[in-house]
Symmetry: C2
Subunit: 430 residues, 2 copies
């Protein structure tokens, strides 16, 4: 029996919205948002889309009108009652009331600020200007919209069974990965794939497959909406935008050198336990750790997000030992460019020496490599970053010069201030 | 929105019937049924299920009560108005009114006769007794029910995503086969997979995938219900049961030697064109052709269903040449144990020398090999055959001694009458 009312209702849609909720975003965005809301509420920042894979002509693949419709739709979204209840009442990282009342009251009334969109050749210039705690919430939905519109552009030309077999192949691939991961004793792995997912439905499928296939080895998802809907842990701590903006706000080189620690000092006041995770690579991991205050060595763990991951983890372990800390009481979270072989390799190298966990991103939720002609669904490297704060440019160095961002003169200044020497370039796949 | 009425209606089902229509059967069954209805209406036959793969303990896998429910359900089926209209009005093999009024009137009122089911160890004895044109219609539904109940027994223990990935893998496999077939210039291939299909829905999926993936190279399906529903050609001509029963009815060795030609003489009166296809292997291809009357050499083609297929086709080509016929005007249909490599090989060997086509069965509609532990979904060799006619045992020799059937003394007598010498055994996979 055809449900005629549903069929007619479906016909009335003008678009099939990609982002349908303000919590279809990464959990750490909300943690950082609350922190910014509290500590830096008057900061004006600019976020900008950056397509590091400029061989992907986004403006040719994606219709500007359609892109605007999706972005406009996101500006209509507000927190639903159930979402608000979940954020207020759910236990995150073992803690209730993670989000304070003043933040929740603001968030419940928040709408995303305007965007600026302009076609430049075969790319789009997409920027967001405003108070930091508002525009920062554009990052994940903007990336999700662009990634999924690109997927749709490719899928648009495919026939029914081609589509079904495409997803059959992709499902088979994800499941084979899960079957390989199942063999790793003591594995802990979370989905970090929101920002560069193939599509929302696909990410949701991947999470459910991980739940069934890995059981308790699957520790949760960074995506709040999926965490709420699938009743799993929401996972995430903090990101580069915090030290980048704090650093841009520094008036002197001395203040700049101190900025990355100031960020974590604010974080220290707000969070404990598994939320005290250092992201050390914004301006070079080695220098950051060498100059870190001792209270940071007391933190729970470290997230390795650029450079050679094994080197990063060895550096962290040595650093803890040099500060009289036991690495076996610490946690190393790997989150950069992971796939099954790398996960298995890192797990076997570090399990037993420290607590290891993995934030698996693009190659979980967007591994469509080789599945269509011209590899037109291969993931690509799209980011949306804070590029300036109170009118000053931001800089990111990371442990891989291929991931560096900012004006050249500022990059040079930051390298000098943070004592960053020669770095080994590593190809950025995703 | 949940359609509550549909949900409640679905809950009321006692079983999920495997066979839901009398035309969920092979087209050649209906052609043969009409022929028997006309020429041998007073013949009493016994059909019997034979599990040639007796390592599959059907009676342990399949609950007897459930099996009875499905068989009982089939006995309630009658031709629907739309099915009757399709059989009466559709064009088959270029001809309208393929089924005559007297046959259709009988068929419209026909219900399948009782069955006899008894557990014998880990196997079932399942037999059907009655008038030939009635019990012959049990063959395909009985096989379909047993095959699908065995599939369900295995699937029953699987979780949701395991199931989804199982079908994803099976779909991927079928599609990869289709992609390989797409490269064969001038291919003509039909689905012959009803009798040993994984399930009805799966066969229906495979047919639709062939339609989209192969276009006009897909010539149709043997399954009448799917042919009607998907608006493709219904394909099939005649099978071993005709010469087997005609031969069993022979009173003398001389009549026996003539019986296989008598069958085709009746067929010759009823059909022309692409329905004049010889199935020569019932009692050995070489002897059958050597002794065949000249009017048979004028038939359109030959179907190779046992023995080495290339040898069978070469035998046919030589025979046509020896009778002054041009093989390029003839058709060779391969239908035994086909898969992509064999299809490709046979096509490249015979295309250009004769018209080639393929009836692809079990490895199209039931290739789940290697997809579950212990290969518990691998296809197996189940048949349902006429084992006696008017109280006399039937015999089949075929070109492969592994496929021979009947009492040993009768097999010896048939071998003598039909001058069958040494035969090379070939493993029967499906």
């Amino acid at each position: 029996m055809v449900d005629i009312a549903t069929r007619v209702y479906n016909h009335k849609w003008k678009i099939d919205p990609i982002v349908r909720s303000l919590i279809d975003t990464d959990f750490y965005k909300l943690l950082m948002c609350q922190s910014v809301f509290r500590n830096k509420p008057q900061t004006d920042v600019v976020f900008s889309l950056i397509n590091r894979s400029n061989h992907i002509p986004l403006a040719e693949l994606i219709d500007e009108g359609e892109l605007r419709e999706h972005l406009d739709h996101i500006r209509t979204l507000s927190l639903s009652r159930g979402e608000s209840t979940w954020l207020r009442g759910n236990m995150f990282y073992g803690k209730r009331q993670m989000f304070r009342s003043d933040f929740m009251e603001w968030f419940e009334n928040m709408r995303l600020p305007p965007y600026h969109l302009e076609r430049k050749g075969d790319q789009y210039e997409l920027t967001f200007e405003g108070k930091w705690h508002e525009v920062m919430l554009w990052e994940i939905p903007a990336l999700a919209v662009l990634m999924e519109l690109r997927s749709r552009a490719v899928l648009n030309d495919m026939r029914r069974f081609e589509l079904q077999v495409l997803y059959a192949r992709a499902m088979t691939r994800v499941w084979e990965k899960i079957e390989q991961l199942r063999g790793i004793d003591g594995l802990g792995i979370a989905d970090f794939g929101t920002r560069r997912r193939h599509s929302f439905l696909w990410q949701d499928w991947c999470v459910q497959a991980m739940m069934e296939g890995l059981g308790s080895a699957f520790t949760g998802t960074s995506n709040c909406m999926i965490a709420m809907r699938r009743e799993v842990e929401a996972i995430g701590t903090n990101a580069h935008e915090l030290p980048m903006v704090y650093s841009a706000l520094a008036d002197t080189d001395a203040e700049l050198a101190q900025a990355p620690y100031d960020v974590l000092s604010d974080w220290h006041d707000e969070h404990d336990g598994n939320l005290r995770i250092i992201l050390p690579d914004t301006y070079g991991t080695q220098g950051f750790l060498d100059n870190a205050p001792d209270w940071l060595a007391g933190w729970t763990g470290i997230r390795i997000d650029s450079g050679d991951p094994a080197t990063g983890a060895e550096t962290a372990i040595k650093w803890w030992q040099s500060r009289g800390e036991d690495p076996n009481q610490k946690r190393v979270i790997f989150s950069d460019g992971l796939d099954v072989d790398k996960i298995r390799e890192l797990h076997s190298q570090f399990a037993g020496r420290t607590n290891v966990s993995f934030g698996w991103g693009t190659l979980l939720t967007n591994d469509f490599r080789g599945l269509v002609p011209n590899d037109a669904l291969a993931p690509f490297s799209l980011v949306c970053k804070a590029v300036s704060a109170n009118g000053r440019p931001t800089v990111k160095l990371s442990d891989n010069p291929e991931k560096a961002m900012g004006p050249t003169s500022e990059i040079d200044r930051y390298k000098r201030v943070f004592h960053v020497g020669a770095q080994e370039p590593i190809e950025v796949i995703v």
